[in-house]
Symmetry: C2
Subunit: 222 residues, 2 copies
């Protein structure tokens, strides 16, 4: 297909396509004359991947470049390639290895990973990201012990095994695997967050109802 | 306590405390002379709440003002006050009521809420937020049916009933209830997101191991 068809097929404006070509994020088409190049389904897939990383993952271009390199390097296994995308979605964190709160949080993260039987790279940025959240919880006086966190780890494990990964197209083209991983991780994460707030509203109403039942009729206008 | 002690107790710089006083977010202290005012534990609590809304909730000042109004209006029930904070944490969304994708997503949200037996205000912004996520999933070609979403709703329900709301200090001062709700919702949400990525990495490794076992030894350098 020509550039104009690639634009129609992908929905990405021509100026943006040309920018991705210049930046090397999109491989060049097959030159058929001095002014014409042919593009194919792999270019459509690559554009879909880049848009998912930009629009859904909100990732910076430098990070997207690294993911594309992992996608293009066929020596990289699918698991490693997905890892590159996964790690790119981690929030940037500056660990403070000398801080006792950080040491405690890091040990708790290790303990949970062991307890769950998870195989995780030692330098996965997700470890530091979780440790930072535990440090924040502790400093704000909120519960953040092993027993507080483990139920959330169990739920994450159940979702990963039974649902999350099944939404990723692992057996198709490499572009599609990374694209569907990022969309699944970010958008199902957003859905889960909204669902938690809905469930919390419902539970808060249930508790309020119980309190009212125990203390008498609701005040007027409630 | 004097302003200097309030600063020491809360960790909030004096310039910031004065700004909150001017903006009416922090109630004035008791004036003991022309240049001196006495502050108490309720001022420390209010500063903790404001910092939680700013630092953890990342909420704009106009939104924080509305939450503070709900906290200060004793006519507002605790459930309504928590609702104000909950709704403030919703991502802003512009619904497109004439769009068929939006109509379908809205109907699916209603159906799930009914199926879960949740009591949710009809104009809760969380509904539109979830609908928007479903529209995005569908447009990106990802699964977003009732059966795809319900497992996530069940998990959210279990967490809300058994864990989330128990971390909120509902029986203390109103400031503290809102503060602990926001910290719980945001930071446990962040922890859950990191835990999902850890569980997905572990599950991806498990699947990769299975594929390798079925297709022969791993390639060198893997």
């Amino acid at each position: 297909m020509l550039m104009s068809q690639l634009r129609a097929e992908s929905g990405v404006p021509i100026a943006t396509i040309k920018y991705y070509l210049r930046e090397g994020l999109l491989p060049p088409g097959e030159q058929t004359s001095a002014t014409r190049a042919e593009y194919n389904a792999s270019h459509v897939r690559r554009l879909r991947l880049i848009r998912a990383l930009v629009d859904v993952g909100r990732l910076p271009l430098a990070t997207i470049r690294k993911i594309i390199e992992a996608v293009e390097d066929e020596q990289t296994s699918v698991h490693q390639m997905l890892g590159a995308a996964h790690y790119a979605l981690s929030l940037p964190v500056e660990p403070a290895p000398d801080d006792p709160d950080w040491q405690e949080a890091g040990a708790l993260v290790d303990e949970m990973i062991t307890e769950m039987g998870w195989v995780i790279y030692p330098d996965a940025p997700t470890r530091a990201e979780l440790a930072q959240t535990l440090v924040s919880l502790k400093r704000l006086g909120m519960p953040a012990t092993r027993d507080d966190l483990l139920p959330y780890a169990r739920v994450a494990d159940e979702l990963a095994r039974e649902h999350d990964l099944r939404k990723v197209r692992l057996d198709g083209p490499r572009d599609t695997a990374v694209e569907t991983l990022v969309i699944m991780q970010v958008l199902y994460g957003r859905a889960l967050d909204a669902l938690r707030r809905l469930a919390q509203e419902a539970e808060s109403a249930r508790i309020a109802g119980k309190v009212q039942a125990a203390t008498g009729p609701p005040p007027e206008g409630d």
